[in-house]
């Protein structure tokens, strides 16, 4: 694609977000590129690795305790989207801290750590331990607090829908995170997302990531029952891009906080739509699963090289 005239940014150039300089503006979204340790050896014409030009990997969301995740099936495809019910399967905070984060640092992967918890104080605990363990780490750029995972049975659903709770979580994390970027990832499953963004901004985030998945359900006609054992899943992919764009626009115009755009981005054109609205960076989720080089390709295409 020839780049539009209004586009003058090189998204593979460093940019400042809060207290940090990020190496670039095209990131991978949480849960769609594991922890950032996978696939470094993979090949594609014109790329040294799937991480080439990628500004940050947002890790799979890490919770205080390891989680085995939900029963299978965990994924359903629709014409234009994907419904997932992974159930936050993750290695748990202790292993992440002891093994994953040091490995990311050693491999030089620009990292945003995604965290989820069921109480605000837990965010504070995890962030303060990250802060202590990662003194001197140069590739750990920030934390994204996941306030919006719709498919975890014991919480999630309502957790990130209340501006006061969002603010409490942000404050708890911010206290221990003076020198790395703090992002709050917002759920679209609310009537007023800009209210959540305003609360997060007042509590001290450097940016909000929008959006997480949209609550969805698919029915198996043979059995007459929902396909996913937990009934609901998180809907993502091209189908949600217009929803994501609307939410991003709402936040930017009403809440005056930097936005990292997420939702249905699979190529340079999709990413440009978020930048056109004023997003400072974008994340690639579902499309990264189809091709590990998606974010790298977008970065390259938008850099105009």
């Amino acid at each position: 694609m020839s780049l539009p005239g209004w586009w003058t940014i090189d998204p593979t150039e460093p940019f400042t977000l809060g207290p940090r300089q990020f190496p670039g503006r095209i990131w991978t979204a949480s849960g769609c590129f594991a922890y950032g340790l996978t696939g470094h050896e993979m090949k594609a014409e014109g790329f040294s690795s799937p991480y080439q030009g990628v500004g940050a990997v947002v890790t799979k969301t890490v919770t205080p305790q390891a989680r085995p995740g939900n029963p299978m099936p965990r994924l359903v495809e629709t014409n234009e989207g994907a419904l997932n019910s992974i159930g936050l399967e993750n290695v748990g905070f202790e292993e992440f801290l002891a093994k994953t984060l040091p490995a990311l640092e050693e491999m030089g992967v620009p990292t945003v750590v995604s965290l989820a918890a069921t109480r605000p104080e837990e965010f504070g605990d995890m962030v303060s331990r990250l802060h202590q363990a990662a003194v001197g780490f140069v590739h750990w750029h920030g934390v994204e607090i996941n306030l919006s995972c719709p498919n975890v049975a014991e919480g999630g659903h309502d957790f990130g829908r209340d501006p006061d709770t969002v603010a409490a979580c942000v404050r708890a994390a911010r206290e221990y995170l003076p020198d790395r970027a703090l992002l709050a990832k917002l759920t679209p499953n609310v009537t007023d997302i800009s209210g959540l963004a305003t609360a997060a901004a007042a509590a001290g985030v450097d940016a909000v990531s929008a959006i997480n998945t949209v609550v969805g359900l698919e029915v198996d006609l043979k059995s007459g029952r929902p396909v996913l054992p937990r009934r609901f899943g998180g809907y993502s992919g091209p189908a949600i891009r217009p929803i994501a764009l609307a939410k991003v626009d709402e936040i930017i115009t009403r809440a005056k906080v930097p936005v990292v755009g997420v939702g249905g981005i699979g190529n340079d054109r999709d990413a440009l739509k978020f930048f056109a609205l004023g997003a400072v960076a974008v994340q690639v989720g579902t499309a990264q699963m189809r091709d590990p080089f998606t974010a790298a390709r977008i970065a390259k295409d938008l850099a105009g090289v």
Binding site: T38, E41, K43, K60, M72, L75, A82, R290
Partner: protein, 288 residues
């Protein structure tokens, strides 16, 4: 640049050289039926391609018609710049694949996953394939025939005589059929389940050190696993689990496996696409 050079990185648990996966486009050069139920898709790439039997690729349509998730298919053959697959049309993705004409572009990610293990030099091997479980085992047999010193007995279960790709298989396979319908003149088929055919072969009971390699629908895998364990044979199964990414990042493909490192009786979720698709049957914590 050759997209698939030999690796200098770590090897898989199953000690065979595994190429790093490549993400690239290929061009369809053939897409033709090889039996009433199976089609062969041949794809050509810009550079030479290679794989180990048991490995798979994620395939998708190119450009704006791409499906949200690519589809996993076992690699059947690779020669120079061409790779081929055998598939059955079952839903939206395979229907779209079936509609591809020669010249069409195809998105490819592979080779992926852990291959079948290498048997000891003269260890006898039993192959049990059912339906679209055929390609990885046919690939294995193609590589090993004439090279492996141990006996190899190959069994393939199909729906009926028309479902068997006779010309591809040659005369090395014992065929079992759900129905003897459409059996071509001069061809032979045994009616019943392929695992029952294997069980009926008393001569195979003479050795305990046999290795079973199986691929097919879950009931077949379970039956193969039971048979192997009753005979004291080791058994490796290639699982067909639903997959989102095929390369280990989404956790959409987990299978429960026994994990002694977590304490006695501990079961954990293994990632089918990277820890498998080939698993030792003894490791699987089947839930029946």
């Amino acid at each position: 640049m050759s997209l698939m050079q030999p690796p200098d990185g770590p090897r898989t648990m199953i000690d065979l050289p595994v190429m790093p996966a490549a993400s690239c486009e290929g061009v369809v050069v053939a897409n033709v039926p090889v039996s009433s139920g199976l089609l062969q898709l041949v794809v050509e790439f810009d550079s030479p391609v290679t794989f180990q039997p048991g490995q798979f690729a994620m395939l998708n349509l190119a450009g704006d018609s791409a499906l949200v998730f690519s589809r996993p298919f076992s690699i059947y053959e690779a020669k120079d710049r061409r790779m081929s697959f055998l598939y059955r049309v079952v839903g939206r993705g395979t229907r779209a694949l079936n509609a591809l004409e020669p010249g069409a572009a195809l998105v490819f990610l592979g080779p992926l996953g852990r291959p079948f293990p290498q048997p000891d030099p003269d260890q006898p091997v039993v192959l049990i394939a059912g339906g679209v479980g055929l390609p990885p085992l046919a690939a294995w047999l193609d590589r090993q025939a004439g090279r492996h010193a141990g006996e190899i007995d190959a069994f393939f279960g199909a729906r009926d005589g028309g479902d068997v790709p006779w010309d591809l298989l040659g005369d090395r396979w014992n065929i079992s059929l759900d129905s003897l319908k459409d059996l071509p003149a001069g061809r032979q088929g045994w009616q019943g389940l392929v695992t029952d055919l294997v069980a009926s072969r008393q001569d195979l009971g003479n050795r305990k050190d046999r290795m079973v390699l199986a691929c097919g629908p879950t009931p077949l895998l379970k039956a193969a696993s039971r048979l192997a364990s009753a005979r004291g044979w080791t058994c490796w199964l290639s699982l067909e689990e639903h997959m989102g990414c095929g390369y280990g990042v989404c956790k959409g493909c987990v299978v429960p496996v026994h994990d002694a490192s977590g304490g006695p009786g501990h079961v954990r979720n293994a990632t089918c696409c990277t820890e498998g698709p080939v698993f030792n049957a003894a490791d699987l914590a089947w839930q029946d």
